[in-house]
Amino acid sequence: MTTYFNEMFLGNKVREPYRGLKDWMATMPAELRQMKQAEAEDLFRRIGITFAVYGEGGDPDRLIPFDMFPRVFSAQEWFKLERGIKQRARALNAFLVDVYGRGEIVRAGRIPAHLVYQNEAYEKAVVGFVPPKGVYSHIVGIDLVRTGPDEFFVLEDNCRTPSGVSYMLENREIMMRMFPDLFRENRIEPVDSYPELLRHTLASVAPSKCNGDPTIAILTPGHFNSAYYEHSFLADLMGVELVEGQDLFVEGEFVYMRTTEGPKRLDVIYRRIDDAFIDPLCFRPDSMLGVPGLMDVYRSGGVSICSAPGAGVADDKAVYTFVPEMIRFYLGEEPILNNVPTWQCGKADDCKYVLDHLNELVVKEVHGSGGYGMLVGPKATKEMVETFRAKITSHPENYIAQPTLALSTTPTFVEEGVAPRHVDLRPYCLVGERIELVPGGLTRVALTEGSLVVNSSQGGGVKDTWVLAE
């Protein structure tokens, strides 16, 4: 029987960061809790924050369940996390600049060439081009799990366009509205500077041809996208336009927005669409979402694209294994945050081990996301295990495996009262001229008892994440 680290209770003792929540939890009557829960849901629906899952059908206006019990970190805990996250974000960017330049890390034999150069996410089109300030990934979302008081592991890196930050901001907003006393009694670091920091980050990587105040816009695939709410929310908070591909066009050396007053030049694009769809002249010719000619403008210094096309090669699950190596290679430091031990099915020895231990391991598709294409060994049926065995045997290089981690739990409101549920954490690190990290992130919680899958597409919920001031 695995024991899980409970972030609030150590035996009968309440751990220090959660001290301020002990009475709050004990004295909240069930009726009040239900009333508050309904109020929170109403607020979410009113502001229109919903999450539509691709291909699942059903209600496009579905809400992600919000759990009112906050997840708390002490200042010391956060200090370590912050250093570790920033270190990782620096190394990932150094890696990207390197592999699109001379490829020293490959030449030095620290990472296999094929993992980089034959990777689907490696874009030949940007080889030799260094984006402004040498930054490829401007928003790095690092998924972390905890297994003990001092044990944190990085589950995966998201270097392209990590989503969910709107929940971090809205969860806080709603908690402050509903429980102002909690915020008076506990000294909680604010997170609401995020949009401004994001705008500064984007402005700091304006292209060389931009003079004066850069014009910024968010490029969305459109209002049918599941994250459309987040796109419009961020655009609104930053005070920038939310554009679709059809709103932009290329003329001469620049890209312009179609406005009622005529063309308006655009300097920085925070894109929330995949590389393949950015520009039909450079990538997928059938893409209707992008802007024809955008990549030529980008590569000749007329516009900045964040994250930079090609950034995805750094967050590939197979490349992930080598991030500690990157930290040592580029920064000359030891990694502050550990990777989860990972078996590469592409290696014969690893593959054998994985196939022999399928019942104990979590198997992931190298290019999968959102908890799909994943096998959680200890929870899986015989058929599922056998399906995966067949898949791994036929395409070993497409899979990695990790031990089933004993994810920490935090108290969560459930039908019967309060019960421990498993959580993870995604902080959002901003990389521009400077590296910034707001104290907080998105805590996702597996609402089903015993479940370790926190993905919102599979019944996960979200919580407000507190970092206490010193």
Binding site: Y100, G101, R102, G103, V106, A113, H114, Y117, Q118, E120, Y122, K124, A125, V126, V127, G128, F129, F249, V250, E251, G252, E253, P280, L281, C282, P285, P292, G293, M295, D296, V297, R299, S300, G301, G302
Partner: protein, 276 residues
């Protein structure tokens, strides 16, 4: 040799279009095998956009036409001095790691039919002769016949048909080389027609294979040779689509039709020079 190129591509639209955007890969490569004496690209009422040399060493030039227009003509005129390097791409500056060209694409995927072409080929005498042998196999397997295939024909389809044009020859050779672990890529350029009147495509394409210790080497299965001083190298890519000299799009309902004329001649000055 001194080669003179005149290449026009005329786009006509049955209804006027706006905001025509093109990305050109139309400047001759810079390497020891060729020297540009003069080269000009023009686009009817076009505005020159950004230009840059990409990681593969190609010069990319963007163009836009605001419109509305019903016809746009892209004209390339130039004079290039070439020397025969037996296909070796010497002195070409590029940063893309050759391993990148091991990646599969739809057009160059080597299925069983394609791989069968390499059956029994001699690996013993080194990669260069292996590449030659593969090129020869491709020439045998695919008979030159214009119109037998189109721009979207894959290597596998071409092998199945047993006939095709230079694009198909190149795709099949690339597929074969990659299947044997050698990086390979598609090259577009121009070719001087033979004096004996053998029909050729003046706007030509061939393949390059990466040979260890030698670098990139061109192979032209269509003509069973390596590119020499009759060839002008222009751009490269994973396959024909990736290496296309012009990629463009226009806004509007107008249906596009295309007329291309290419003329490559040996310039009169050449003889004078080569006699010296």
């Amino acid at each position: 040799m001194l080669l003179k190129v005149h290449h026009t591509t005329r786009y006509s639209y049955d209804a006027p279009v706006r905001t025509l955007v093109q990305s050109h890969r139309m400047m001759p490569s810079v390497f020891e095998g060729q020297k540009v004496l003069n080269w000009e690209v023009s686009v009817t009422s076009g505005q020159k956009g950004g230009g840059f040399r990409d990681g593969a060493g190609d010069w990319i030039q963007a163009w836009t036409v605001i419109g509305p227009v019903s016809e746009v003509e892209v004209v390339v005129q130039g004079l290039v001095e070439t020397v025969d390097l037996a296909g070796v791409l010497r002195g070409h500056r590029e940063t893309v790691c050759p391993d990148v060209y091991l990646r599969e694409t739809h057009l160059t995927y080597a299925d069983d039919k394609v791989q069968a072409l390499a059956a029994g080929v001699d690996h013993g005498s080194g990669p260069l002769s292996l590449a030659h042998a593969l090129s020869h196999r491709v020439a045998e397997a695919i008979t030159y016949r214009p119109g037998a295939t189109d721009a979207a024909t894959s290597a596998s389809e071409a092998v199945e048909r047993g006939e095709g044009v230079c694009q198909d020859h190149a795709h099949v050779l690339i597929a074969l080389a990659k299947a044997l672990g050698m990086p390979a890529r598609y090259v577009s350029g121009y070719l001087l027609a033979d004096s004996d009147g053998v029909a050729h495509e003046a706007a030509h394409a061939w393949a390059e294979v990466y040979v260890k210790d030698l670098g990139w080497v061109g192979f032209d299965p269509a003509n069973e040779c390596c590119p020499d001083d009759r060839y002008i190298r222009v751009g490269s890519g994973f396959d024909a689509q990736d290496a296309a000299p012009i990629r463009g799009i226009a806004r509007g309902p107008g249906e596009e039709s295309l007329v291309v004329t290419v003329k490559v001649e040996e310039s009169a000055q050449t003889q004078a020079q080569s006699q010296q």
